[in-house]
Chain length 385, copies 2
């Protein structure tokens, strides 16, 4: 039997950086997915092996189940109560990962492999499995690839373990509504292994889909009533998120009055944006008017991010290029490179979208057309017997 689970990436629509200083931010799912396929090996496979394939990276890891069980068996708790991986256990996991000889260039993936081992041990409890991961999300570019990885793996493992109720008779993808709380908690435990102190936003968006308004640690799911399509441009410029966050804080120390006003402006924009997105189609505004409002708020937010000093030459190039086509863009996430969002109005012709993409890709960027605010984690069963 094979279980597939897919989980979407996320974008920050408004409020990145300012959220660290108490402002509201809005995140949304993006229909680029990470998919985890988990298969119980056929009975002809003699060896009890746990296999993890990262297909896009052409990496494959394998451990004898006995070895994992011996190392981690003493640490795992009940499936129904997701627990953090203890520091001691992290060391043990690290030795299991080291044993795999990850190429130096891909060493950042080690924490993802560690997260996998903790989720596998905690949820599936030492059953031999083949796990294959594929993803449409670029790594480390702020689209929540690590959270989608944790959500997809956790969802597939929970489904296979029978810990969540999923209608196996159903064809195609299905959402495991009732079990999302448990799924989200496990994914968060994986994120903690990868990121140390994640905000929980990425895994929550990836689990529940749609959009989330968040502020000072409190998250509210919001239901968008506005079909949103965006061009996501990956500048491929790597950045140091911690340094960017620290840079904004230092600027806020040097210029407290101005920066408090800037964070307040961002807070107002995020709140207005979330009201706009939730307003229904038969409200006063037409879709085109809503799109214009959204574009204006997006342009304003980008100006405020530039005011915080987190833009970058590559981001400005995307802005200049898209503005030639009268399209509005903003950075999403940490800035300093990473990804840029460009609003694509519903009535925009495909020809123009193609031209914009061609021009951006000629600068060496990578473009994705993405639907925003769609479904979260989904599961699909395949009876291979």
């Amino acid at each position: 039997m094979e279980v597939k689970a897919r989980a979407p990436g996320k974008i920050i629509l408004a409020g990145e950086h300012a959220v660290v200083h108490g402002s509201t931010a809005v995140a949304a799912s993006v229909n680029l997915y990470t998919t985890a396929s988990v298969r119980l090996p056929s009975s002809s496979d003699k060896d009890d092996i746990v296999k993890l394939q990262l297909k896009d990276l052409a990496l494959e890891f394998a451990w004898p189940v006995s070895r994992i069980k011996e190392a981690l068996g003493g640490f795992v708790g009940p499936i129904s109560t997701p627990t953090s991986c203890p520091a001691e256990c992290l060391k043990t996991i690290a030795s299991l990962v080291e044993y795999q000889n990850i190429p130096e260039a891909k060493i950042k993936l080690a924490s993802g492999v560690s997260a996998f081992l903790w989720l596998y041990s905690s949820i599936l409890r030492f059953v031999p499995v083949d796990v294959a991961i594929t993803s449409e999300l670029p790594l480390g570019s702020g689209l929540g690839s690590s959270a989608a990885f944790c959500v997809a793996i956790s969802a597939a493992l929970l489904a296979l373990s029978g810990s969540v109720n999923v209608d196996q008779g159903h064809c195609g993808w299905m959402v495991c509504e009732d079990e999302l709380v448990l799924l989200n908690k496990w994914a968060f435990e994986g994120e903690k292994i990868i990121h140390g102190k994640p905000s929980g936003i990425d895994n929550t968006v990836s689990t529940y889909g749609s959009m989330i308004k968040f502020r000072s640690g409190s998250l509210d799911l919001i239901k968008s009533n506005m079909p949103l399509k965006m061009l996501v441009t990956n500048t491929k410029v790597g950045r140091n998120t911690k340094a960017l966050v620290a840079g904004v804080s230092e600027r806020a120390i040097r210029h407290p009055d101005a920066m408090i006003s800037v964070f307040n402006a961002v807070d107002s924009i995020s709140k207005e944006l979330s009201i706009l997105l939730q307003s229904s189609a038969h409200d006063d505004m037409s879709l085109t008017e809503k799109e214009e409002q959204l574009a204006e708020l997006t342009e304003m937010n980008q100006g405020l991010l530039q005011c915080m000093g987190v833009s970058h030459g590559s981001i400005e190039t995307v802005l200049r290029t898209t503005s030639k086509y009268e399209l509005v863009s903003k950075l999403t996430g940490a800035g300093g490179g990473g990804c840029v969002l460009t609003l694509l109005p519903n009535l925009l012709s495909g020809t123009i979208v193609d031209e914009v993409i061609a021009e951006l890709e000629s600068c060496g960027f990578e473009c994705f057309i993405a639907g925003i605010g769609g479904k979260g984690a989904e599961i699909s069963f395949n009876d291979l017997a």
Copy 2:
């Protein structure tokens, strides 16, 4: 006898647009001058003629003194009490200007010629003169060329009329300190003819030089203790100042909470900037540290202007170009084209400045290196006898 008067242009260092909504702004003089030379015709010139030459534009206007006197004699008041040109009189002046057949392409200059006629009639009271104007200031690009025109003309006419006390024995340029209030008022009357409802900032900066902090109609002269050099880049993109100002107001109506915070942020930046500029050299900060602070405030202000929606592709091009050299820029004035300021740190090598200028000029822009916060109006006498 010939009197020359020169008056500088101005730049807005911080706070443009937000000042319309109650924020503080800071303006400074820029050492690009408009010069007015006023000469009493030699006694061999039989005809009583008033001649105005706009040398940079290769335009020359002439009126019989008798004609001007007949038209405007009934309207002028005392020199010591600058008065506004009455609406009726403006019509009469318009007919004097029309009579000159200004080329269609230069019709915008008509209001400047009208201002000249009012200042000439009020101050010199129908004496035949030759007036020649030259200017280093680009017209209509936000550098205060019209104010410098009014200040230079008023200063030269006041000096020639003997209404201000200037030490004629002195060589070179001299500042007529005591008479600046009168000069500024007359120049303001000229500005009103050109602009309708000017703020009074441009003529005040051009008259007094140095820097001015202004908010809700109140102006404070400030004395800078920081040598400032800037690259002023004229994008040569014409813009509609009224439409840009209206655009910001409309945005403020659509998004009041966010925009109030944006204006507050600008207010804080302007206040911080004016304290920074006034702090003396032996304060805690080195010049380099002060320059870094100034650069940061300038970058923040530019981000906020982008948030207001008054930037422009040409401005972004200047920003991108100068940022490659790690130089910080911001638009100055109305935005939507016009001029861009780039801070030139005192220790910056001339080679780099030359490279930046070459790159900007290859985009079709015009660059000036300018000292900021220098002298205001100055007068020089030349005894031609």
